[in-house]
């Protein structure tokens, strides 16, 4: 059994990763539209916010590299490798989550081949690719030092890497500086969607400076937690130094942010009591002012616990800024709110969890930490045989446990899969409701704010009721289309087996409809019993499903419209806009309709 908190942590991380993996399978199998809450109003959601967070937390990488390799501050050297590891994992996570977000993920290399130099994305793509490559090069000496890679060619490569380190480091600093700020620049493209309290013409610079602060503070947290994990004492002096850097850059960022708001006169809206203003206040006060105050007190700086508390506040504040800007407060139509879907949430948790596992693997196997050629394996302390040790700590035991976990997690994912028997399984079910209006019908079956204009009276003069209405429900003269075509886009069965079973004496009645084997293929036609509902062509068996609402409506209208359009030479009768409005948010659409 899992015997200590480290094992528990890893096991839980594995569980999260596996759950995310299951969600990933669904996301790639069924596409973004089905598996996420993203839509045209909210093309950027949780994953984008997550990406901004990853990049912000990777800020320690270029900061420490600059401090040690450019400014030659040797006292920070013990931290360089772990800072670069964090940056590597951060950018790796960025790329992985990018793959999830792309509609055509296999086109991820396209920006490299086809240069669209008018696009901010072009610059971002190039920076990410180059900086990630640079990070790999910066980190590869650590990997190559491992005894596993002791061969002549690789050692030569290692030597070359050591000699060319400054080149890579400077390239890395330049690229990440560019990239950090260009991520902010993205939001300058759609200024009207950014909430005023988060908007600033200076967003790129704010992004860059706050990334230094967040990255350094995250590194501080990492140092403390990692040493706890490996039963070591973290060095207080290093933590204090990091905290100082973090504090000053945070101060700079705060001044810039609040100052800009003051300058433009937007700050008063922070007091209007909306939830955005509360979030803003919390972000600035808890994640900005409070840690600066705390870190200015010598007593606070003397204790690791208070240091990491302050650091956690800073990290939280910067993450909050990124997420608020890109997700929470981003303007979207009120009718189309964005809620992340389960798959999005699972993947959003899985990527950091996978990064954490990779991080632990690297820490346990590579010389990332100061002064250790190879970090000690945690579990090899067993000198005396213990029977519990047999399963727990061997690779075999780990495989056994993790695979059992995987069985249940994947099974849960299978539960989430849509049913397979529907042809249009990949479209979501949207209940259809009765249309609204009278003389001029405004048909909006699924209340999606896409109305269809239908002149009922005009059609009534020209046509029989039965052209459109099936009249198939007893004692009804105009059954609504939506009563059978109850799903917007999926065909649905119009036969209720349970109802028949209940009303016809349960099991005793199977033979009434089924001869021999009892399945849908042996059932008799509906008309054998329900002769009275017969109107037009025969419905052969109940296995015939009613088409979805959209198909049914198109089927009823299109043929006639096209014919009439030809006959009368009126092209405007058979185009989409004959019935469909140009999509508009509901209120305006309603207003416009009323005017007409």
């Amino acid at each position: 059994m899992i015997s200590n908190w480290r094992e528990w942590t890893k096991t839980i991380l594995w569980g999260v990763v596996l759950a995310g993996g299951a969600a990933a399978v669904m996301r790639f199998a069924f596409g973004l539209g089905v598996t996420t809450g993203l839509d045209d109003a909210t093309p950027w959601g949780l994953w984008i916010a997550l990406k901004l967070g990853f990049v912000a937390l990777s800020g320690g990488g270029f900061t420490l590299a600059a401090l040690v390799y450019v400014f030659r501050l040797e006292s920070y050297r013990p931290l360089v490798r772990r800072a670069i590891l964090l940056a590597l994992l951060g950018y790796g996570s960025f790329i992985v989550s990018l793959i999830f977000d792309l509609g055509l993920p296999w086109h991820i290399y396209m920006p490299i081949l086809h240069w669209q130099h008018h696009s901010v994305m072009f610059e971002i793509a190039w920076c990410v690719v180059l900086y990630f490559s640079v990070l790999v090069l910066e980190f590869s000496p650590v990997v190559l030092e491992h005894p596993f890679f002791q061969n002549a060619v690789l050692q030569k490569a290692l030597h070359l890497l050591h000699k060319t380190t400054p080149v890579w480091v400077i390239a890395g600093i330049v690229l990440s500086t560019l990239h950090q700020s260009s991520l902010g620049a993205l939001f300058l493209m759609a200024p009207h969607r950014v909430h005023p309290l988060w908007y600033s013409a200076w967003i790129p610079v704010q992004f860059f400076i706050s990334a230094i602060s967040a990255g350094v503070m995250f590194l501080l947290l990492e140092v403390y937690l990692a040493e706890r994990w490996f039963n070591n004492e973290a060095r207080l002096d290093l933590m204090q130094k990091l905290a100082q850097i973090g504090k000053f850059t945070l101060g700079l960022y705060l001044i810039m942010r609040v100052g800009d708001l003051l300058w433009r006169g937007v700050l008063p809206s922070a007091l209007d009591g909306s939830w955005q203003s509360v979030l803003f206040a919390a972000e600035i006060l808890l994640g900005g002012v409070l840690p600066i105050v705390l870190l200015s007190l010598p007593a606070i700086r003397q204790h690791k616990e208070t240091l990491i508390t302050s650091a956690a506040l800073v990290v939280g504040g910067v993450l909050s800024q990124r997420m608020a800007l890109s997700m929470f407060t981003l303007w979207r139509p009120a009718e189309q709110p964005y809620t992340p879907a389960l798959a999005e949430v699972l993947i959003a948790f899985a990527i950091p969890a996978a990064a954490a596992l990779l991080y632990l693997f690297a820490m346990e196997n590579l010389a990332v930490r100061e002064g250790s050629t190879q970090a000690p394996r945690i579990h090899e302390a067993l000198s005396h045989p213990q029977w519990g040790a047999y399963q727990d700590h061997s690779l075999w035991g780990v495989i056994t446990q993790r695979s059992l976990l995987a069985v249940f997690v994947v099974a849960l994912a299978v539960v989430l899969l849509p049913n397979q028997n529907n042809a249009m399984a990949t479209l979501p079910k949207q209940p259809v409701q009765a249309g609204r209006g009278w003389e001029k019908l405004i048909l909006d079956g699924n209340r999606a704010s896409y109305q269809v204009n239908f002149a009922h009276a005009e059609h009534q003069e020209r046509l029989d009721c039965q052209v459109c209405h099936h009249l198939n429900i007893p004692q009804d003269d105009a059954s609504g289309c939506w009563q059978c075509h109850s799903d917007f886009s999926q065909p649905t069965t119009i036969f209720e087996h349970g109802l028949h079973q209940r009303t016809l004496q349960g099991n005793a009645s199977c033979e009434n409809c089924h001869a021999g084997a009892h399945n849908r293929h042996t059932a008799i036609d509906c008309q054998e019993c329900h002769a009275s509902t017969e109107q037009g062509e025969r419905v052969s068996t109940f296995t015939l499903e009613a088409p979805g609402y959209v198909q049914a409506m198109h089927g009823v209208c299109l043929e006639c419209h096209q014919r009439e359009s030809q006959a009368r030479g009126r092209a405007d009768l058979a185009v989409c806009s004959t019935c469909h409005f140009i999509p508009q948010p509901a209120p305006e659409g309603q207003a416009r309709l009323n005017q007409e």
Partner: protein, 465 residues
């Protein structure tokens, strides 16, 4: 003691005294107490260590996951047939070990143990295992009848191995092995080399006296084709068998030798401890290397033949040597016409007992039969025979433990005695030192009018120069 006519023997087993825990005599190795803890803890320590280092984990996993406890093996177990005690059902015995495995070494078992707080191994459990694993004659007859293919013999082997590492092993085996591996004489019967050489000289003279055949027992011949390892007890008890082998080799001109540094084929490791098994195999191979021979020749001994045949390839490393049973060799020589046998030499009614170790796997079924049939026209088979034969009742090392005499006679060997009686043979031939000893004891215990001999005893009688 009096035998009635009919196949069912009169004596009903009196099992009351077998219930006592003194059934086997425990010998603990020096320093076993250093393992510390109770016997239960020692058992679990040993179990864990063995699981870590050996191949048994996969086996236990497979068995523990799928053992269906259908009880079909009960019918094929002669111990259960004779005792009718549920604890003798192979599956019951194996489940003792499988339950411990599940409780302590699988996730499900540990979880269940933590949830319900039960299933702990206790002193009584160790006692029961120690007793039951040595009530099995390791004949593996149940393996044939298990639809799932579970090998209860292997579980008994593993159970005994764990017990022995925990310090619980029968004295009879341990003392012999101690002499073999760490003693001065280097063999299980503690025969000093001078005594052996005297004995060989005596055998050569005896051979001339009895059958007029001039044959040598060559010792330390460098570069011989075969190095000969009989069960060492044969030098004391089976003179005729050895003389037969020597005569065959002499008449066919086989180049063979006996090693003076190591001349014991017995490998009790097969019965109770893999470590011992490996060390003995290495001694065997070492002596063969010393004399630069080409092949290893194993005498008439079931477990020696099987352990050498099966484990020389495993444990010899890069010093691989083929292992041949003397039965294969003689049969081949006869087939090639290098040895002439009188087809009517044995007029008595003869039957053949298959030693489990060489017959169960189907390895040596036909060669010894062909030999015996070619010289004894009046040959009958016992039913069942061959792969499905009954064990003599002394397998798995039990015959070396005098304390098990009553058990072997009344329970384990009862079916064999009935079988021999039903065959109405006058001579039972069997190429196995253990089987011969057990069968002789059975014959005298049940007063059967039967003579028990080895294959080469008969070959010697039929040999024509």
């Amino acid at each position: 003691m009096i035998l009635e006519t009919g196949t069912h023997l009169q004596r009903q087993p009196n099992l009351a005294h077998l219930e006592s825990k003194a059934f086997y005599h425990i010998d603990t190795y020096p320093g076993s107490d250093r393992l510390g803890g109770s016997r239960v803890e020692r058992f679990l320590f040993a179990f864990a260590a063995i699981l870590q280092q050996s191949n048994y984990g996969v086996l236990l996993d497979l068995y523990a996951r799928s053992s269906a406890r259908c009880g079909r093996c009960a019918v094929s177990c002669q111990v259960f047939q004779a005792s009718q005690e549920a604890r003798d059902v192979p599956c019951y015995r194996s489940n003792l070990l499988l339950d411990v495995y599940k409780r302590y070494f699988t996730m499900g078992g540990q979880l269940r143990g933590r949830l319900f707080g039960n299933g702990f191994l206790h002193e009584g459990g160790v006692d029961e295992m120690a007793e039951l694993f040595y009530r099995c004659t390791a004949c593996r007859r149940c393996h044939i009848e298990c639809p799932l293919g579970i090998d209860h013999g292997l579980i008994a082997h593993l159970g005994r191995y764990i017990l022995s590492e925990a310090g619980i092993a029968p004295k009879g085996l341990v003392v012999s092995v101690r002499e073999q591996l760490e003693g001065k004489t280097g063999n299980t019967s503690a025969i000093p080399l001078p005594a052996l050489l005297d004995n060989l000289e005596f055998l050569e003279e005896e051979l001339v006296d009895s059958s007029g055949i001039q044959a040598k027992f060559p010792v330390d011949v460098q570069g011989a084709e075969y190095i000969f390892f009989p069960a060492v007890s044969d030098y004391l008890m089976e003179a005729d068998t050895l003389m037969g082998i020597a005569a065959v080799c002499a008449s066919a001109g086989v180049s063979w030798t006996i090693g003076s540094q190591y001349f014991d084929g017995i490998n009790y490791g097969l019965f109770y401890n893999d470590w011992v098994l490996e060390r003995i195999i290495q001694k065997l191979v070492g002596e063969a290397q010393r004399l630069q021979v080409q092949k290893i020749l194993i005498g008439e001994c079931g477990h020696a033949a099987r352990s050498a045949r099966q484990y020389v390839p495993t444990f010899a490393g890069d010093q691989q040597l083929p292992v041949v049973s003397v039965l294969e060799l003689t049969e081949a020589l006869v087939r090639q016409g290098k040895v002439k046998l009188d087809p009517n030499a044995i007029s008595e009614r003869v039957t053949y007992h298959d030693p489990c170790n060489i017959a169960r796997s189907g390895w040596l079924l036909e060669p010894p039969r062909r030999l015996v049939r070619s010289i004894a026209p009046n040959f009958v088979e016992m039913r069942p025979f061959g792969k499905e034969n009954y064990c003599c009742g002394g397998g798995g090392g039990l015959v070396s433990l005098d304390e098990t005499h009553e058990f072997r006679m009344q329970v384990a060997g009862k079916l064999k005695a009935e079988q021999i009686q039903a065959s109405e043979a006058e001579i039972v031939v069997t190429p196995c030192a253990n089987c011969k000893k057990q069968l002789r004891e059975l014959v005298s215990y049940y007063h059967l009018p039967v003579q028990v001999v080895g294959v080469h005893d008969l070959v010697l009688r039929a040999l024509r120069l």
